[in-house]
């Protein structure tokens, strides 16, 4: 597990004030601040964009008002060399401002934003495979500072590389507190009124977003992607952030994308359980998604997460399918069926949680949670963790607020991540509608997962479909996915010609297996 710690050595995105031709690392953040009008309503009245150019390449980004008369423009360069910018604004003092910076090599540990690769999978911009192993901390940024720091500390050693987190505070079972910061300035508060809070929805509260940004940068330092949930239904009149109206919703999306698009580790999740947000029509999600995409010059990953009804996951605007459905990774032969329907990566972003709470979605055993990850990964899909364990009344529940992991699944999930990152690439079922246990990454690398099935021996066999030539030699290792052990088998296996739909060892060699559930095999071609 020590190897996981190297994921932490990542450089913070560089935020700079306007300097003369500074050096900015690739995929980090260049930021320039201008002073401008502080009167009227700068959030609404002032327009500001900047066009950055490098050779023939031009990228236009929106600036934003950050309070106190300060306007900012942020940019994430993806090409080494000199970049120039020039601003446009309806305010003369903000228009025609120019400058340059040098983009240098990326900092160690910054692989750039995550992109879709090979239809079903992900790579960082620098070409390294990215396998999402996420967890869920919906309202962690709305808790007290000490708890937020504890959450970061927990994440620093857990092995997750993505978190699902909400912009807006959450009001729901296990998380009912008012946060310290709100996205809009507060006009009045009446604890006895039906509508307790009155907000000035024509303005934003920069401090709220500055805090959110700090936390996203904190995640970046840990090598963690922030799958940022832009809307959610867990409000129901407490603050009213689920029912701001279309105009404010759109202005909020423009503001947050102007602030955050330059963060290399941001993903857009249009909503959590979009269909449970009863104040928004189904069709409005296309409008909101367009707003986000039109304002994000970097094409960050973008998805929408469902409650009990899926959105139109095939739409081009969504880079991947973010799916709530625990059943899809409960047993063999399921996860692939949903992947077959959309030509994009599938992340099962909610599959119930490891926990012990009353609600059935919060009481998976650790074994069930880990099994779900293996079910997903062998089908060429991905799974997200969440933890709803409350052993003592004062325990924070990680899924809601963060704090400490108490479950048994996180180290096993990190172990699986480690196996994936040691391997040559993402997995695909070799014979997808007939053999739901055997995944491959080319003919040189197979993973066979047995799930709950116990067996005392296994005769070496692989699917004929997408299989190796006769005479290919393999070594086999027995993986105990729960004990987190990898045990080499001493024999070397050599494939015969196909016999029916399977390929066996020439001598029909078999191996002994311990009678334990949750075993897997790693089968790797060896040189002669």
């Amino acid at each position: 597990m020590k190897q996981l710690l190297i994921w932490s050595f990542l450089l913070l995105s560089t935020s700079v004030k306007a300097q003369q031709n500074p050096l900015i690392a690739c995929w980090s953040r260049y930021e320039v601040a201008f002073q401008g009008p502080a009167t009227g309503n700068p959030f609404k009245d002032v327009s500001l964009t900047a066009t950055f150019s490098n050779g023939n390449r031009k990228v236009t980004v929106s600036g934003f008002y950050d309070g106190g008369g300060t306007y900012r423009v942020r940019f994430m360069p993806d090409t080494i060399g000199e970049w120039r910018y020039s601003t446009k604004s309806n305010q003369p003092s903000l228009s025609g401002r120019t400058g340059t910076f040098q983009c240098g090599p990326p900092a160690a540990g910054n692989h750039g934003p995550v992109k879709v690769a090979n239809t079903w999978h992900f790579k960082y911009a620098d070409g390294q495979w990215y396998y999402p192993f996420g967890t869920t901390i919906y309202a962690w940024t709305h808790q007290g500072e000490a708890l937020q720091e504890q959450t970061l500390h927990s994440l620093s050693s857990a092995g997750f590389n993505k978190v699902r987190m909400c912009v807006f505070p959450k009001y729901y079972t296990h998380v009912e507190e008012d946060p310290a910061l709100y996205p809009f300035p507060q006009v009045s508060f009446n604890p006895n009124a039906a509508k307790r809070f009155v907000w000035d929805l024509s303005r934003f509260n920069p401090a709220f977003f500055q805090h959110l940004e700090k936390r996203i940068d904190d995640l970046a330092k840990l090598g963690i992607e922030a799958d940022l949930i832009l809307f959610h239904p867990y409000d129901k009149g407490r603050w009213g952030f689920d029912s701001l109206g279309t105009e404010t919703d759109n202005r909020y999306l423009q503001y947050i994308t102007a602030r955050l698009s330059s963060f290399h580790n941001v993903w857009w999740s249009m909503a959590n359980e979009f269909d449970f947000i009863k104040t928004k029509s189904r069709s409005i999600w296309d409008v909101y998604t367009k707003t986000v995409i039109d304002n994000d010059s970097y094409h960050h990953l973008c998805s929408i997460h469902n409650g009990s009804v899926y959105y139109d996951l095939w739409k081009d605007e969504f880079t991947h399918a973010s799916i709530q459905n625990g059943a899809a990774v409960e047993d063999f032969g399921r996860a692939i069926l949903q992947r077959n329907m959309v030509f994009k990566p599938v992340i099962y972003d909610e599959v119930c949680y490891e926990g012990n709470i009353e609600q059935r979605w919060g009481r998976l055993s650790g074994e069930e949670m880990v099994h779900a990850f293996w079910q997903g990964i062998i089908a060429g899909t991905y799974v997200t963790h969440g933890e709803t364990i409350e052993d003592h009344p004062n325990d924070t529940i990680f899924w809601a607020k963060g704090g400490k992991f108490r479950g048994t699944s996180p180290p096993r999930i990190a172990f699986l991540r480690h196996i994936m990152e040691e391997g040559p690439g993402p997995l695909e079922l070799a014979d997808m509608w007939k053999d739901h246990q055997t995944a491959q990454s080319g003919t040189g690398y197979y993973i066979v997962y047995f799930g709950k099935q116990l067996q005392s021996e296994w005769t070496f066999n692989l699917p004929k479909k997408n299989g190796p030539n006769a005479g290919t030699k393999y070594k086999v290792e027995i993986i105990d996915t729960w004990a987190m052990t990898i045990t080499p088998v001493s024999a070397v296996f050599e494939t015969a010609s196909p016999d029916g739909y399977r390929i066996f060892d020439k001598q029909l060699k078999k191996i002994k297996l311990p009678l334990r559930p949750y075993l897997a095999l790693r089968i790797t071609a060896v040189e002669h």
Copy 2:
């Protein structure tokens, strides 16, 4: 089973020559013939359309050349009353021809074309539920007449209400003969040439299509929908019908839709295993589908069937998803996952076949075939049968050529159809991601399917989700899906308030079950 025989008493679509104001039954076929030019190439040179009107309603259909100087226009009226028509043509003798007919009530047994209903299901145009229980006879119309008649006789008592059948002849394992009729006139034949047949692709062979039409009418008489496969990959140079080129493909689609759109029982299947047709690009299917839809004024059901890669099943042009994937209905919890992804009916149109041939797709047991149907139906999806049984060398294989059913599944499939048609409506899983055994049609009707699971008793329980109020009374019948028996349980059950996520009988009543696989329960609300 006698009750199934009433499905046979259906009236043939009425085909009439031009009479004075004839009476045409609703959803049957009005046909009018004109004499026109027989020289040149009437298939290409002559345009002919007719606009039919009833009050403000106008429907324009294409006519077609039927050989021997005869041009025909066909129309399927869907509204009772007087219809008038007027033709347009680039030939004066065919232009401005007018006439009228009276549309009367539909003939007994003609419920009109099948349409999508309630997002996931089907109804006939007259509002009656249609549950597809199809079988597969790819090349039956290309066999000898006696075999075709035997096939119809087999279908007349089998209980299937849809067949998947190809327009073009098929060259594949178990069906390699040349047919008597071809869709194009033959220019030359050289058995020793690489390309044995040379066709005049600028013309069609009306006799081929007349024969196909007769067979589709024969199916209509049996109450069977013709799911007509417009292209398929099973040619590979034998006749060249898989590689006619885009222009001929499009003309063929225009011709066949002009001839067949007025048949109430036609469905368009753009292709079988579209991805195995290597001569056509993926993108061309959008073009071909548009050609079909633009030429079909009645909006018949339209789908495209896959080999190992799905087409874009969500596209609006496809009324339903026609899916090859046996794994999806092999076990609980799978069929629903694909239905979740598309907001249209799902028919698992190829799930492997009951048979005993070498290929693994042709060796399901009867039990497995029937189990697949139950898996599909309880998840609110549908399944299609096929039979690949060859007990003796002279046996025709029904899936390929038709002939006689030899399998054990057809009567059990008819039994399930009978149960569905007795019920109040289509089934939906009540608690779709948690309970994959319990389907409902409202709270008054539940079907619980146990599959291979044996148990000596069953405590009355239903999902809380979408469940009944406390105090609802039910009777229970034990269905043996293999023995085709329905055994009433004498007790009456009365629901308590929910206990966790389930609803039990107030006295926790249970029933004894025989220790046999493939049992189901029918649970029906009873009046006090």
